[in-house]
Symmetry: C2
Subunit: 230 residues, 2 copies
DNA sequence: CCAAAAGTGTTTTCGTTACACCCATGC
DNA sequence: GCATGGGTGTAACGAAAACACTTTTGG
Protein backbone atom coordinates (compact mmCIF):
# COMPACT_ATOMS: atom_id res chain seq x y z
CA UNK A 1 0.00 0.00 0.00
CA UNK A 2 1.14 3.52 -0.71
CA UNK A 3 1.85 5.61 2.34
CA UNK A 4 -1.23 7.58 3.12
CA UNK A 5 -1.44 9.98 5.97
CA UNK A 6 -5.06 11.09 6.07
CA UNK A 7 -5.92 8.22 8.37
CA UNK A 8 -4.73 8.33 11.92
CA UNK A 9 -3.71 4.76 12.52
CA UNK A 10 -1.30 4.10 9.70
CA UNK A 11 1.93 2.71 11.10
CA UNK A 12 0.29 1.45 14.27
CA UNK A 13 -1.62 -1.23 12.47
CA UNK A 14 -0.86 -3.08 9.27
CA UNK A 15 -2.86 -3.71 6.13
CA UNK A 16 -3.78 -7.10 7.52
CA UNK A 17 -5.75 -5.43 10.25
CA UNK A 18 -7.79 -3.06 8.11
CA UNK A 19 -8.26 -4.69 4.75
CA UNK A 20 -10.22 -7.59 6.21
CA UNK A 21 -13.82 -6.56 5.81
CA UNK A 22 -16.32 -8.05 3.36
CA UNK A 23 -18.99 -5.92 1.76
CA UNK A 24 -22.43 -7.12 0.79
CA UNK A 25 -25.54 -5.52 -0.57
CA UNK A 26 -29.10 -6.35 0.41
CA UNK A 27 -31.96 -5.47 -1.90
CA UNK A 28 -35.49 -4.50 -1.01
CA UNK A 29 -37.08 -5.14 -4.39
CA UNK A 30 -40.59 -3.74 -4.45
CA UNK A 31 -43.24 -4.88 -6.89
CA UNK A 32 -46.97 -4.32 -7.30
CA UNK A 33 -49.49 -7.06 -8.04
CA UNK A 34 -53.03 -8.01 -7.03
CA UNK A 35 -53.49 -4.52 -5.63
CA UNK A 36 -50.76 -5.16 -3.07
CA UNK A 37 -47.25 -3.85 -2.55
CA UNK A 38 -44.91 -6.84 -2.69
CA UNK A 39 -41.29 -7.49 -1.89
CA UNK A 40 -39.10 -10.11 -3.52
CA UNK A 41 -37.79 -12.51 -0.88
CA UNK A 42 -36.30 -15.95 -0.40
CA UNK A 43 -36.99 -18.50 2.29
CA UNK A 44 -33.96 -18.63 4.51
CA UNK A 45 -32.10 -21.95 4.66
CA UNK A 46 -29.75 -21.08 7.48
CA UNK A 47 -30.52 -23.23 10.53
CA UNK A 48 -30.83 -20.23 12.85
CA UNK A 49 -33.49 -18.56 10.70
CA UNK A 50 -35.09 -21.64 9.14
CA UNK A 51 -38.34 -20.79 7.44
CA UNK A 52 -37.98 -17.06 7.86
CA UNK A 53 -37.96 -14.66 4.93
CA UNK A 54 -34.77 -13.04 3.81
CA UNK A 55 -33.90 -10.32 1.32
CA UNK A 56 -31.97 -10.95 -1.82
CA UNK A 57 -28.32 -10.10 -1.28
CA UNK A 58 -24.80 -10.98 -2.20
CA UNK A 59 -21.20 -10.12 -1.56
CA UNK A 60 -19.73 -7.32 -3.63
CA UNK A 61 -16.94 -8.72 -5.82
CA UNK A 62 -13.39 -7.58 -5.24
CA UNK A 63 -13.26 -5.70 -8.53
CA UNK A 64 -16.85 -4.50 -8.56
CA UNK A 65 -18.08 -0.99 -7.77
CA UNK A 66 -20.51 -0.93 -4.86
CA UNK A 67 -23.26 0.59 -6.99
CA UNK A 68 -22.73 -2.08 -9.67
CA UNK A 69 -23.45 -4.97 -7.32
CA UNK A 70 -27.21 -4.45 -6.97
CA UNK A 71 -27.55 -4.30 -10.76
CA UNK A 72 -25.64 -7.57 -11.09
CA UNK A 73 -27.75 -9.26 -8.43
CA UNK A 74 -30.96 -8.13 -10.10
CA UNK A 75 -29.68 -9.46 -13.42
CA UNK A 76 -28.32 -12.77 -12.13
CA UNK A 77 -30.95 -13.63 -9.60
CA UNK A 78 -34.09 -12.11 -11.09
CA UNK A 79 -33.27 -11.58 -14.76
CA UNK A 80 -33.96 -7.87 -14.43
CA UNK A 81 -32.07 -5.04 -16.05
CA UNK A 82 -32.55 -1.30 -16.44
CA UNK A 83 -34.22 -0.94 -13.08
CA UNK A 84 -34.64 1.84 -10.55
CA UNK A 85 -32.19 1.60 -7.66
CA UNK A 86 -31.59 3.84 -4.69
CA UNK A 87 -29.10 3.39 -1.89
CA UNK A 88 -30.68 3.66 1.53
CA UNK A 89 -28.44 2.79 4.47
CA UNK A 90 -25.29 0.90 5.44
CA UNK A 91 -25.28 -1.44 8.42
CA UNK A 92 -21.94 -2.17 9.98
CA UNK A 93 -22.15 -3.64 13.46
CA UNK A 94 -19.14 -5.87 14.14
CA UNK A 95 -21.24 -8.89 14.97
CA UNK A 96 -24.16 -8.39 12.60
CA UNK A 97 -23.19 -11.34 10.41
CA UNK A 98 -22.46 -14.94 11.43
CA UNK A 99 -19.79 -15.42 8.77
CA UNK A 100 -17.42 -12.66 9.86
CA UNK A 101 -17.12 -8.92 9.52
CA UNK A 102 -19.55 -8.22 6.73
CA UNK A 103 -20.99 -4.77 6.31
CA UNK A 104 -24.00 -4.40 4.12
CA UNK A 105 -25.38 -1.56 2.06
CA UNK A 106 -29.09 -1.69 1.40
CA UNK A 107 -30.83 -0.59 -1.77
CA UNK A 108 -34.42 -0.13 -2.81
CA UNK A 109 -35.34 -1.36 -6.25
CA UNK A 110 -38.66 -0.69 -7.97
CA UNK A 111 -39.61 -3.16 -10.67
CA UNK A 112 -42.56 -4.33 -12.67
CA UNK A 113 -43.36 -7.83 -11.41
CA UNK A 114 -44.07 -8.98 -14.95
CA UNK A 115 -40.51 -8.18 -16.04
CA UNK A 116 -39.05 -10.98 -13.94
CA UNK A 117 -37.62 -13.61 -16.23
CA UNK A 118 -36.64 -16.06 -13.50
CA UNK A 119 -38.99 -18.85 -12.54
CA UNK A 120 -40.41 -18.21 -9.07
CA UNK A 121 -41.14 -20.89 -6.53
CA UNK A 122 -42.75 -20.74 -3.14
CA UNK A 123 -39.66 -22.02 -1.35
CA UNK A 124 -37.06 -20.04 -3.15
CA UNK A 125 -37.50 -16.64 -4.72
CA UNK A 126 -41.03 -15.23 -4.52
CA UNK A 127 -43.12 -12.11 -4.09
CA UNK A 128 -44.54 -11.54 -0.62
CA UNK A 129 -47.07 -8.86 0.41
CA UNK A 130 -45.13 -6.20 2.30
CA UNK A 131 -47.86 -5.37 4.79
CA UNK A 132 -48.26 -9.04 5.77
CA UNK A 133 -44.64 -9.39 6.88
CA UNK A 134 -44.15 -9.28 10.63
CA UNK A 135 -40.67 -10.77 10.94
CA UNK A 136 -37.71 -11.74 8.81
CA UNK A 137 -34.29 -13.37 9.13
CA UNK A 138 -31.22 -11.41 10.31
CA UNK A 139 -31.91 -7.68 10.61
CA UNK A 140 -33.94 -7.75 7.43
CA UNK A 141 -37.27 -6.76 8.96
CA UNK A 142 -35.78 -3.49 10.18
CA UNK A 143 -34.19 -2.96 6.78
CA UNK A 144 -37.54 -3.53 5.08
CA UNK A 145 -39.30 -1.05 7.35
CA UNK A 146 -36.72 1.67 6.78
CA UNK A 147 -36.88 1.08 3.03
CA UNK A 148 -40.68 1.24 3.05
CA UNK A 149 -40.43 4.53 4.92
CA UNK A 150 -37.95 5.84 2.37
CA UNK A 151 -40.18 4.70 -0.48
CA UNK A 152 -43.11 6.61 0.98
CA UNK A 153 -41.10 9.80 1.31
CA UNK A 154 -39.71 9.38 -2.18
CA UNK A 155 -42.93 8.81 -4.13
CA UNK A 156 -44.53 11.91 -2.61
CA UNK A 157 -42.19 14.26 -4.43
CA UNK A 158 -40.42 12.23 -7.08
CA UNK A 159 -41.71 10.43 -10.14
CA UNK A 160 -40.40 6.97 -9.39
CA UNK A 161 -43.50 4.88 -8.65
CA UNK A 162 -43.94 4.40 -12.41
CA UNK A 163 -41.22 1.80 -12.24
CA UNK A 164 -43.67 -0.47 -10.42
CA UNK A 165 -46.22 -0.32 -13.26
CA UNK A 166 -46.33 -1.38 -16.90
CA UNK A 167 -45.31 1.25 -19.48
CA UNK A 168 -48.96 2.13 -20.09
CA UNK A 169 -51.26 2.42 -17.14
CA UNK A 170 -54.55 3.96 -16.09
CA UNK A 171 -54.99 6.44 -13.28
CA UNK A 172 -56.92 3.77 -11.39
CA UNK A 173 -53.83 1.55 -11.40
CA UNK A 174 -51.67 4.48 -10.34
CA UNK A 175 -53.99 5.30 -7.44
CA UNK A 176 -54.22 1.65 -6.40
CA UNK A 177 -50.42 1.60 -6.32
CA UNK A 178 -50.20 4.68 -4.11
CA UNK A 179 -52.88 3.24 -1.85
CA UNK A 180 -50.86 0.03 -1.60
CA UNK A 181 -47.68 1.93 -0.77
CA UNK A 182 -49.32 4.06 1.90
CA UNK A 183 -51.80 1.42 3.02
CA UNK A 184 -54.55 4.06 2.89
CA UNK A 185 -57.43 5.00 0.63
CA UNK A 186 -57.37 8.31 -1.22
CA UNK A 187 -60.15 10.44 -2.67
CA UNK A 188 -60.24 9.80 -6.40
CA UNK A 189 -60.85 13.34 -7.58
CA UNK A 190 -58.21 14.86 -5.36
CA UNK A 191 -55.70 12.19 -6.28
CA UNK A 192 -56.15 12.88 -9.98
CA UNK A 193 -55.95 16.63 -9.49
CA UNK A 194 -52.74 16.43 -7.46
CA UNK A 195 -51.22 14.03 -9.92
CA UNK A 196 -51.95 16.14 -12.99
CA UNK A 197 -50.51 19.21 -11.30
CA UNK A 198 -47.23 17.36 -10.84
CA UNK A 199 -47.10 17.04 -14.63
CA UNK A 200 -45.36 13.66 -14.61
CA UNK A 201 -47.79 12.02 -17.01
CA UNK A 202 -48.02 11.84 -20.77
CA UNK A 203 -51.54 11.30 -22.12
CA UNK A 204 -51.27 8.51 -24.68
CA UNK A 205 -54.76 9.11 -26.12
CA UNK A 206 -55.40 5.41 -25.78
CA UNK A 207 -57.98 3.56 -23.73
CA UNK A 208 -57.82 0.42 -21.63
CA UNK A 209 -59.04 -2.71 -23.37
CA UNK A 210 -60.69 -5.86 -22.00
CA UNK A 211 -61.95 -4.22 -18.83
CA UNK A 212 -65.48 -5.10 -17.70
CA UNK A 213 -66.43 -1.46 -17.30
CA UNK A 214 -65.93 1.87 -19.00
CA UNK A 215 -62.28 1.92 -20.13
CA UNK A 216 -59.99 4.57 -18.66
CA UNK A 217 -57.37 6.61 -20.46
CA UNK A 218 -53.86 5.24 -20.58
CA UNK A 219 -50.86 7.27 -19.54
CA UNK A 220 -47.10 6.88 -19.64
CA UNK A 221 -44.41 8.35 -17.45
CA UNK A 222 -42.96 11.52 -19.01
CA UNK A 223 -39.33 10.62 -19.59
CA UNK A 224 -36.62 12.98 -18.48
CA UNK A 225 -38.42 13.87 -15.28
CA UNK A 226 -35.95 12.06 -13.08
CA UNK A 227 -32.81 10.02 -13.56
CA UNK A 228 -33.45 6.32 -13.17
CA UNK A 229 -30.10 5.28 -11.82
CA UNK A 230 -28.20 5.42 -8.56
CA UNK B 1 -15.41 -19.05 8.19
CA UNK B 2 -18.62 -20.93 8.76
CA UNK B 3 -20.30 -22.24 5.64
CA UNK B 4 -22.88 -19.75 4.57
CA UNK B 5 -25.10 -20.24 1.59
CA UNK B 6 -26.97 -16.96 1.21
CA UNK B 7 -24.20 -15.58 -0.95
CA UNK B 8 -23.75 -16.91 -4.45
CA UNK B 9 -19.99 -17.09 -4.78
CA UNK B 10 -18.99 -19.17 -1.81
CA UNK B 11 -16.88 -22.04 -2.99
CA UNK B 12 -15.77 -20.30 -6.13
CA UNK B 13 -13.73 -17.76 -4.27
CA UNK B 14 -12.00 -17.91 -0.93
CA UNK B 15 -12.07 -15.68 2.12
CA UNK B 16 -8.92 -14.01 0.88
CA UNK B 17 -10.81 -12.66 -2.09
CA UNK B 18 -13.73 -11.16 -0.23
CA UNK B 19 -12.49 -10.12 3.18
CA UNK B 20 -10.03 -7.62 1.75
CA UNK B 21 -11.88 -4.35 1.88
CA UNK B 22 -11.16 -1.46 4.23
CA UNK B 23 -13.94 0.71 5.58
CA UNK B 24 -13.62 4.38 6.38
CA UNK B 25 -15.97 7.11 7.47
CA UNK B 26 -15.91 10.71 6.29
CA UNK B 27 -17.54 13.41 8.34
CA UNK B 28 -19.24 16.55 7.20
CA UNK B 29 -19.17 18.44 10.47
CA UNK B 30 -21.31 21.53 10.26
CA UNK B 31 -20.94 24.52 12.54
CA UNK B 32 -22.35 28.03 12.67
CA UNK B 33 -20.28 31.14 13.35
CA UNK B 34 -20.11 34.75 12.12
CA UNK B 35 -23.54 34.31 10.58
CA UNK B 36 -22.16 31.65 8.23
CA UNK B 37 -22.61 27.91 7.91
CA UNK B 38 -19.18 26.33 8.31
CA UNK B 39 -17.70 22.92 7.79
CA UNK B 40 -14.74 21.48 9.67
CA UNK B 41 -11.96 20.64 7.22
CA UNK B 42 -8.26 19.95 6.99
CA UNK B 43 -5.78 21.05 4.34
CA UNK B 44 -4.84 18.01 2.34
CA UNK B 45 -1.20 16.96 2.44
CA UNK B 46 -1.35 14.33 -0.27
CA UNK B 47 0.72 15.40 -3.28
CA UNK B 48 -2.12 14.91 -5.72
CA UNK B 49 -4.47 17.19 -3.80
CA UNK B 50 -1.94 19.55 -2.25
CA UNK B 51 -3.60 22.61 -0.80
CA UNK B 52 -7.12 21.37 -1.33
CA UNK B 53 -9.59 20.97 1.50
CA UNK B 54 -10.51 17.55 2.78
CA UNK B 55 -13.08 16.23 5.21
CA UNK B 56 -12.23 14.66 8.51
CA UNK B 57 -12.21 10.92 8.19
CA UNK B 58 -10.57 7.73 9.37
CA UNK B 59 -10.58 4.01 8.92
CA UNK B 60 -13.07 2.04 10.98
CA UNK B 61 -11.20 -0.22 13.39
CA UNK B 62 -11.46 -3.98 12.99
CA UNK B 63 -13.46 -4.36 16.18
CA UNK B 64 -15.45 -1.16 15.93
CA UNK B 65 -19.09 -0.83 14.89
CA UNK B 66 -19.53 1.37 11.83
CA UNK B 67 -21.75 3.81 13.74
CA UNK B 68 -19.21 4.05 16.54
CA UNK B 69 -16.42 5.30 14.30
CA UNK B 70 -17.76 8.81 13.68
CA UNK B 71 -18.19 9.32 17.44
CA UNK B 72 -14.59 8.24 18.02
CA UNK B 73 -13.27 10.53 15.29
CA UNK B 74 -15.20 13.48 16.70
CA UNK B 75 -13.82 12.73 20.13
CA UNK B 76 -10.21 12.10 19.10
CA UNK B 77 -9.82 14.72 16.41
CA UNK B 78 -12.09 17.50 17.63
CA UNK B 79 -12.62 16.80 21.31
CA UNK B 80 -16.37 16.60 20.82
CA UNK B 81 -18.78 14.20 22.42
CA UNK B 82 -22.55 13.84 22.63
CA UNK B 83 -23.10 15.17 19.14
CA UNK B 84 -25.75 14.80 16.49
CA UNK B 85 -24.80 12.30 13.77
CA UNK B 86 -26.67 11.06 10.75
CA UNK B 87 -25.51 8.58 8.16
CA UNK B 88 -25.92 9.86 4.62
CA UNK B 89 -24.39 7.73 1.87
CA UNK B 90 -21.78 5.08 1.20
CA UNK B 91 -19.31 5.47 -1.66
CA UNK B 92 -17.70 2.33 -2.99
CA UNK B 93 -16.13 2.69 -6.40
CA UNK B 94 -13.25 0.25 -6.78
CA UNK B 95 -10.73 2.96 -7.61
CA UNK B 96 -12.06 5.77 -5.45
CA UNK B 97 -9.09 5.65 -3.08
CA UNK B 98 -5.37 5.72 -3.90
CA UNK B 99 -4.45 3.37 -1.04
CA UNK B 100 -6.52 0.37 -2.09
CA UNK B 101 -10.10 -0.79 -1.90
CA UNK B 102 -11.52 1.56 0.70
CA UNK B 103 -15.23 2.17 0.86
CA UNK B 104 -16.41 5.11 2.84
CA UNK B 105 -19.60 5.89 4.67
CA UNK B 106 -20.37 9.57 5.09
CA UNK B 107 -22.02 11.18 8.10
CA UNK B 108 -23.35 14.61 8.87
CA UNK B 109 -22.56 15.99 12.30
CA UNK B 110 -24.05 19.16 13.76
CA UNK B 111 -22.00 20.80 16.47
CA UNK B 112 -21.65 24.05 18.32
CA UNK B 113 -18.35 25.54 17.15
CA UNK B 114 -17.58 26.71 20.68
CA UNK B 115 -17.63 23.13 21.97
CA UNK B 116 -14.45 22.23 20.10
CA UNK B 117 -11.70 21.58 22.60
CA UNK B 118 -8.96 21.03 20.02
CA UNK B 119 -6.70 23.90 19.02
CA UNK B 120 -7.46 24.93 15.47
CA UNK B 121 -4.89 26.15 12.98
CA UNK B 122 -5.24 27.51 9.49
CA UNK B 123 -3.20 24.69 7.94
CA UNK B 124 -4.60 21.81 9.85
CA UNK B 125 -8.10 21.52 11.25
CA UNK B 126 -10.25 24.61 10.76
CA UNK B 127 -13.76 25.89 10.04
CA UNK B 128 -14.42 26.93 6.48
CA UNK B 129 -17.54 28.72 5.16
CA UNK B 130 -19.57 26.11 3.30
CA UNK B 131 -20.86 28.44 0.60
CA UNK B 132 -17.35 29.62 -0.26
CA UNK B 133 -16.11 26.12 -1.10
CA UNK B 134 -15.92 25.42 -4.82
CA UNK B 135 -13.65 22.36 -4.83
CA UNK B 136 -12.15 19.83 -2.45
CA UNK B 137 -9.79 16.86 -2.48
CA UNK B 138 -10.93 13.37 -3.54
CA UNK B 139 -14.70 13.16 -4.06
CA UNK B 140 -15.25 15.33 -0.99
CA UNK B 141 -16.90 18.24 -2.79
CA UNK B 142 -19.68 15.97 -4.03
CA UNK B 143 -20.01 14.51 -0.55
CA UNK B 144 -20.31 17.99 0.95
CA UNK B 145 -22.99 19.00 -1.54
CA UNK B 146 -25.10 15.90 -0.91
CA UNK B 147 -24.77 16.40 2.85
CA UNK B 148 -25.78 20.05 2.56
CA UNK B 149 -28.82 18.97 0.57
CA UNK B 150 -29.68 16.40 3.23
CA UNK B 151 -29.23 18.97 5.98
CA UNK B 152 -31.66 21.32 4.24
CA UNK B 153 -34.29 18.61 3.93
CA UNK B 154 -33.76 17.57 7.52
CA UNK B 155 -34.03 20.92 9.26
CA UNK B 156 -37.32 21.69 7.50
CA UNK B 157 -39.18 18.98 9.41
CA UNK B 158 -36.97 17.88 12.26
CA UNK B 159 -35.67 19.73 15.29
CA UNK B 160 -31.96 19.20 14.75
CA UNK B 161 -30.58 22.64 13.88
CA UNK B 162 -30.43 23.39 17.63
CA UNK B 163 -27.27 21.33 17.73
CA UNK B 164 -25.51 24.11 15.85
CA UNK B 165 -26.38 26.73 18.49
CA UNK B 166 -25.57 27.31 22.15
CA UNK B 167 -28.02 25.89 24.70
CA UNK B 168 -29.73 29.27 25.01
CA UNK B 169 -30.37 31.26 21.88
CA UNK B 170 -32.55 34.05 20.57
CA UNK B 171 -34.92 33.75 17.65
CA UNK B 172 -32.66 36.10 15.73
CA UNK B 173 -29.80 33.61 16.04
CA UNK B 174 -32.11 30.78 15.02
CA UNK B 175 -33.27 32.66 11.96
CA UNK B 176 -29.72 33.67 11.04
CA UNK B 177 -28.81 29.99 11.22
CA UNK B 178 -31.64 28.93 8.91
CA UNK B 179 -30.73 31.73 6.54
CA UNK B 180 -27.13 30.49 6.54
CA UNK B 181 -28.22 26.91 5.86
CA UNK B 182 -30.51 27.86 2.99
CA UNK B 183 -28.43 30.81 1.82
CA UNK B 184 -31.64 32.87 1.65
CA UNK B 185 -33.31 35.62 3.67
CA UNK B 186 -36.62 34.89 5.39
CA UNK B 187 -39.38 37.20 6.56
CA UNK B 188 -38.98 37.65 10.28
CA UNK B 189 -42.66 37.53 11.26
CA UNK B 190 -43.40 34.48 9.16
CA UNK B 191 -40.30 32.70 10.39
CA UNK B 192 -41.29 33.22 14.01
CA UNK B 193 -44.87 32.16 13.41
CA UNK B 194 -43.83 28.94 11.65
CA UNK B 195 -41.28 28.17 14.30
CA UNK B 196 -43.65 28.61 17.21
CA UNK B 197 -46.23 26.40 15.53
CA UNK B 198 -43.67 23.59 15.37
CA UNK B 199 -43.52 23.76 19.16
CA UNK B 200 -39.85 22.83 19.39
CA UNK B 201 -38.92 25.72 21.67
CA UNK B 202 -38.99 26.23 25.39
CA UNK B 203 -39.33 29.84 26.50
CA UNK B 204 -36.70 30.39 29.18
CA UNK B 205 -38.11 33.74 30.33
CA UNK B 206 -34.65 35.17 30.08
CA UNK B 207 -33.28 37.97 27.94
CA UNK B 208 -30.10 38.40 25.97
CA UNK B 209 -27.39 40.38 27.75
CA UNK B 210 -24.64 42.62 26.41
CA UNK B 211 -26.30 43.27 23.10
CA UNK B 212 -26.15 46.85 21.72
CA UNK B 213 -29.89 46.94 21.12
CA UNK B 214 -33.13 45.79 22.69
CA UNK B 215 -32.46 42.31 24.08
CA UNK B 216 -34.48 39.40 22.70
CA UNK B 217 -35.96 36.51 24.61
CA UNK B 218 -33.87 33.39 25.03
CA UNK B 219 -35.13 29.93 24.14
CA UNK B 220 -33.92 26.38 24.51
CA UNK B 221 -34.63 23.30 22.47
CA UNK B 222 -37.46 21.25 24.00
CA UNK B 223 -35.80 17.95 24.86
CA UNK B 224 -37.43 14.74 23.87
CA UNK B 225 -38.55 16.09 20.52
CA UNK B 226 -36.16 13.95 18.56
CA UNK B 227 -33.49 11.36 19.27
CA UNK B 228 -30.02 12.78 19.00
CA UNK B 229 -28.18 9.66 17.92
CA UNK B 230 -27.65 7.65 14.78
C1' DC C 1 -32.24 61.31 20.21
C1' DC C 2 -30.33 57.90 17.31
C1' DA C 3 -29.29 53.20 15.88
C1' DA C 4 -30.52 48.56 16.08
C1' DA C 5 -33.23 44.93 16.60
C1' DA C 6 -37.60 43.08 19.20
C1' DG C 7 -42.15 42.26 18.98
C1' DT C 8 -46.65 41.98 16.86
C1' DG C 9 -51.62 41.02 12.95
C1' DT C 10 -54.00 41.20 8.86
C1' DT C 11 -54.78 40.29 4.10
C1' DT C 12 -54.08 37.56 0.10
C1' DT C 13 -52.93 33.60 -2.12
C1' DC C 14 -52.52 28.94 -2.82
C1' DG C 15 -52.77 24.15 -1.96
C1' DT C 16 -55.68 20.48 0.40
C1' DT C 17 -59.80 18.41 1.70
C1' DA C 18 -64.45 17.06 1.47
C1' DC C 19 -68.02 15.91 -1.21
C1' DA C 20 -72.04 13.94 -5.51
C1' DC C 21 -73.56 13.38 -9.96
C1' DC C 22 -73.70 11.84 -14.75
C1' DC C 23 -71.23 8.85 -18.32
C1' DA C 24 -69.39 4.83 -20.97
C1' DT C 25 -68.77 0.11 -21.34
C1' DG C 26 -69.58 -5.08 -20.70
C1' DC C 27 -72.62 -8.39 -19.54
C1' DG D 1 -80.97 -2.25 -17.26
C1' DC D 2 -77.58 -3.10 -14.05
C1' DA D 3 -72.97 -3.21 -12.25
C1' DT D 4 -68.59 -1.13 -12.43
C1' DG D 5 -65.55 2.17 -12.57
C1' DG D 6 -64.50 6.83 -15.51
C1' DG D 7 -64.66 11.48 -15.46
C1' DT D 8 -65.60 16.03 -13.60
C1' DG D 9 -66.15 21.05 -10.15
C1' DT D 10 -66.90 23.73 -6.14
C1' DA D 11 -66.90 25.30 -1.45
C1' DA D 12 -64.48 25.37 2.99
C1' DC D 13 -60.41 25.26 5.22
C1' DG D 14 -55.73 25.92 6.54
C1' DA D 15 -50.90 26.96 5.56
C1' DA D 16 -47.68 30.26 3.58
C1' DA D 17 -46.43 34.80 1.84
C1' DA D 18 -46.53 39.69 1.71
C1' DC D 19 -46.36 43.52 4.27
C1' DA D 20 -45.29 48.28 8.45
C1' DC D 21 -45.39 50.20 12.68
C1' DT D 22 -44.41 50.65 17.62
C1' DT D 23 -41.27 49.31 21.49
C1' DT D 24 -37.04 48.64 24.04
C1' DT D 25 -32.41 48.97 24.90
C1' DG D 26 -27.49 50.88 24.48
C1' DG D 27 -24.70 54.42 23.21
Amino acid sequence: MKPYSRFSHYGELSDKDYFRIALSVDLVIFGFADGELKVLVINCNIAEYKGKLSLLGDLVKPDEDLDAAPYRILRERAGLSDVYLEQVHTFGKVDRHPAGRVITTTYISLVNCKDLTIQLSENDLHWHPVHAIKEMAFDHFAILQSCLQRLREKVEDHPVAFNLLPKKFSLREMQALYEAIFDTAFDRRNFRKKFFIKDWLEDLNELEVDVPHRPGKLYAFKKGEEALRV
